[in-house]
Amino acid sequence: MNKWELARRDLLKSLGLGMGCLPLLHASKVWGAPTGPRRLLIVMNTNGLRQQYWKPKEGDLMTQTLPDSSSPLEPYKKDIIFCPDMSQPAYGGGGHGSYVSCLASGPNDNKGEYRVPFAPTIDQIVGPGLAMQGNLSRATLPLGIQIEGGNAGIFPSQRMCWKDRNTPITPEEDIYKSYADVFAGKSNAPADTGAIKALMAHKKSLLDYTGSSLDRFKARLGTDDKEIIDSHLHSVRDLENQLASPKVDLTKCGSDPGNPLDVKSSANWPTLFKLSVDLMVAAIRCDVTRVATLAPCDASGSNISFKSAVPEANRGWHSMGHSPVSGGVDNKRFADKWLMGQFGALIERLKAVPEGTGTMLDSTIVLWANHMEEGANHNSQRTPWMLAGNVNKYFKLGQCAPSAGRPVNGVLYHIAHALGFPVEYIGTQVFGGGWDGLAA
């Protein structure tokens, strides 16, 4: 048995998946170790981008000035790749449904607009393996903002990450709880040692009981039902491990999120977005996890308001998508520009952290995704994604890639390879391989 077969078996085991659920790994090019541990950050937006104000010309970014919406990225042109106009052949059609399955982009249940993917999403393909490399208890850190209030409503429109079919990853929508879960000093934990020991023993007792109940519960179940309980059981064990692991001091990786805001208030959404990005960076900086995802909305973004940060973007995200211009003002364009500013700010944060001879950006891939071309057309077949980061010098940065008509699967394929997972394909063998022009 060669090394990759072993690695694949371990990876499958850690994923809790059957052999058929993961793209085949093969022993292709073995990439050298980057400066720091390899990491992946994903932010998935909706309602597309106003293409005429966002999309650069194909080719070298350094020889052109970015359009207005993209102009906040002007200082980071050499660190990024634009991938406009990509197709999603596994999904087909348009609408909001591609939010659910585009990070898997493979077979799905083909039921209605929102289709449950039958394969893991990229975060779940690489997350467990990266966590194993660092002996971390947290494979991914899934964050979300105001998803529950979204217009789409219908399950699975509120989930973009999947461990497998029927196993969506539920993002934590309370950013303050996420801070407390991940870092020391942000929870309601008592201060004195005796009380901490009592609290830990209490939690351990309850979790031990829950775990043993689950074991007893599943004894007679059929295969499918047993998988449901196994997933629950693994979740409890992961929680036990996280509680047993010492928490990291937030001051070593990031800053205090401040007094809690109402996480359900639309007026706070822009601040919550920034806090979420801050936490993602802090979490990978202190190696709490190596994969963090942010869903700043459900599949529609109907309840999301930029207004408190961008007065001109004075309608809901979904509404602006359908009708970008109102009263002669292109509201959506302002929202798009603000988002590009947040992408730039994220790059800046990663570049600001020295690591080895470079910065944290050199060992991190950022996928800044949108599952739709433009809100006005709801087209999923000209998908605009962006990449940042230079993991192991894998990517050909500083370009607007020749991505038109090419499947998003190719980007996911290259992300997996750059992170050290040489999959044969993502999604399906037919169109799940890489395409030329992205790798250096």
Binding site: F155, Q158, D181, A201, S205, Y209, T223, K226, I229, A299
Partner: protein
């Protein structure tokens, strides 16, 4: 929770071409996500390592009963009835779809586990004031040993309600171990706090969170099937008809061995239909059936709809829920559900509707919740409205096409009515599906994107007429009111409603093995003059409700 077809009418417009299928849902039998397994397929492992002979395929061999977690609604209702407290508002995740109705979502991450544990602890803490009434010793003895005896009694008594069946001795022992761990060592809690911790443990247990009341009892095998034991039947009744745990009367019937025969089950079903808790289930079914339960309260509609406020949305949903209950409390007839009008209307809604006019409104399909939900932000969407009627009232599970790019939909053309814009569907390859959806959807063109009545669009008179092919005859209609009246008397709709209720009862799609159950339910429905209450009672006596097929891989003693 909402499982409607989608937030954007543009979707079906864009994708509804060529490859769609107008399948009746029998083929869901082989669908891995439908929650249904074909009975008899595969090999089942026997308890002693042997192989259980697969049950025969037949019209009265219902599918398996997939394991499911309590929905958010069921969880909240159960805690109300178990602890007498309103649950914490903490998000427990979202429900998901099984057979077109909600089931609890899976637990897949440490975050999910943490949320469940936190909720259990908060609920147990919230019940702290009631601990004195819950424990079977008042006053609580001072002696630690006597307190231990009290805790043991509590575990068995409270556990019987929390797990909805008696606890096995080893289960009671595990819970007493939790109690003991909290009375000493590092934790060292007093009696009442330790009891709280036991309550939190029970609320974290899969025996509370999942619907598997027979999990610790030997299955009752019967003709290759598994018959639900009385504890399971009690919960199947209570979670179907009340969305909550059994009450004391139902528990008493189980304990007395009086929940076995069809007559006994029927007696309980009739009792439960008269209980006020039925209102919650009636509302839940109808909001889910019509795919309106996720009607957004935030402003997803175009700003021109200034009347569309969260308060109006709430009134829309209340109208549909209350009207369904009004029908059930009245004659219970399907015809009234599809053609009647509520006895009272919220003032804001009345303003939207205008003066009552039976030529404009008839039944739930002409209520604003349905019309607003299945429309675009700024304009109507005949495809979506038609597709919902096809799927939910006619059980024609029309599906969007697979793996195709149909490009961008055309923008609205100035001067054209919605019907004129959609006419191209009938003239290109998209007609395969749209000839099914669009004619039904056009019937609702007299209602704008939030359900207000209109007679013109783009300065032209609305044409809401059409023809719908039903079994045995064509239904011609001039507008939605005529369509609703036609549907109310249609055999296809009556049978589909029985199917939808069966799906709601079982939370799975029907299979060929449910044929006899559906025939029995339809016969009872017909003989009652299509009284929906009789349909529900009839369903509780079917094999689809009282039996299941063994699951593949299930260990049967």
């Amino acid at each position: 929770m909402d499982r409607r077809p989608g937030p954007n009418g543009i979707v079906l417009l864009a994708i509804g071409c060529l490859a769609c299928t107008g399948r009746i849902s029998e083929d869901a039998v082989s669908d891995p996500t439908s929650g249904t397994k074909p009975p008899g397929n595969g090999t089942m492992t026997g308890g002693k390592g042997g192989t259980v002979t697969p049950p025969p395929m037949g019209p009265n061999a219902p599918g398996a009963a997939p394991l499911r977690r309590l929905t958010v609604r069921e969880y909240n209702n159960t805690l109300r009835d178990l602890l007498g407290i309103a649950p914490a508002s903490r998000d427990l995740g979202v429900d998901q779809d099984a057979g077109g109705f909600a089931v609890g979502g899976p637990v897949t991450t440490s975050g999910d586990a943490a949320r469940l544990l936190d909720a259990a602890e908060q609920l147990a803490a919230g019940a702290a004031a009631k601990i004195g009434t819950l424990v079977p010793c008042a006053p609580v003895p001072a002696d630690a040993a006597a307190q231990g005896d009290c805790a043991k009694k509590f575990i068995n008594q409270f556990g019987r309600r929390a797990f909805r069946r008696p606890l096995a001795p080893e289960e009671a022992a595990d819970l007493f171990a939790v109690y003991s761990a909290h009375r000493g060592g590092d934790i060292n809690q007093p009696f009442d706090q330790a009891i709280r911790s036991v309550v939190a443990a029970m609320l974290s247990s899969p025996f509370f969170l999942y619907r598997a009341e027979g999990a610790n009892l030997p299955p009752v095998k019967e003709q290759g099937l598994v018959r639900f034991n009385p504890h399971e039947l009690a919960s199947r009744l209570s979670y179907t008809l009340w969305g909550s745990m059994p009450d004391d009367a139902l528990f008493a019937e189980v304990d007395a061995g009086r929940l076995t025969t069809p007559e006994q089950i029927e007696a309980q079903a009739r009792r439960m239909l008269k209980d006020p808790k039925i209102a919650d289930a009636i509302a839940d079914f109808h909001l889910q059936w019509l795919y309106v339960d996720g009607l957004p309260k935030e402003p997803p509609k175009d700003p021109k709809f200034t009347a569309y406020t969260p308060q109006l949305v709430e009134a829309m949903l209340k109208e549909t829920a209350a009207f369904a209950n009004e029908v059930f409390a009245g004659d219970g007839k399907l015809e009234r559900l599809l053609t009647g009008t509520p006895s009272a209307i919220d003032p804001a809604l009345a303003k939207l509707y205008g003066a009552p006019d039976p030529t404009q409104r008839a039944g739930v399909l002409t209520q604003a919740s349905f019309l607003a939900m299945h429309a675009n932000a700024a304009d109507t969407n005949p495809v979506r409205r038609g597709a919902v009627v096809l799927r939910r009232l006619l059980c024609n599970d029309v599906q969007p096409p697979v793996n195709m790019d149909v490009g961008q939909p055309k923008p609205p053309a100035p001067g054209l009515t919605t019907r004129e814009r959609f006419a191209e569907h009938a003239e290109n390859p998209c007609a395969t599906c749209h000839r099914l959806t669009d004619p039904i959807g056009f019937a609702f063109e007299n209602y704008d994107a939030i359900g207000a009545w209109r007679t013109t669009e783009q300065g032209k008179a609305i044409d809401a007429s059409g023809t719908l092919a039903l079994s045995g005859s064509d239904l011609k209609f001039k507008n939605a009111v005529e369509l609703a009246r036609g549907l109310a008397g249609a055999k296809d709709v009556r049978e589909c409603l029985a199917t939808q209720w069966l799906r709601y009862f079982t939370r799975r799609n029907e299979s060929a093995g449910d044929t006899a159950s559906l025939e029995a339910a339809n016969a009872a429905f017909a003989s009652s003059g299509y009284d929906m209450r009789e349909l529900l009672v009839a369903l509780t006596k079917t094999r689809a409700f009282t039996h299941r097929s063994p699951s593949v891989g299930e260990v049967l003693p």
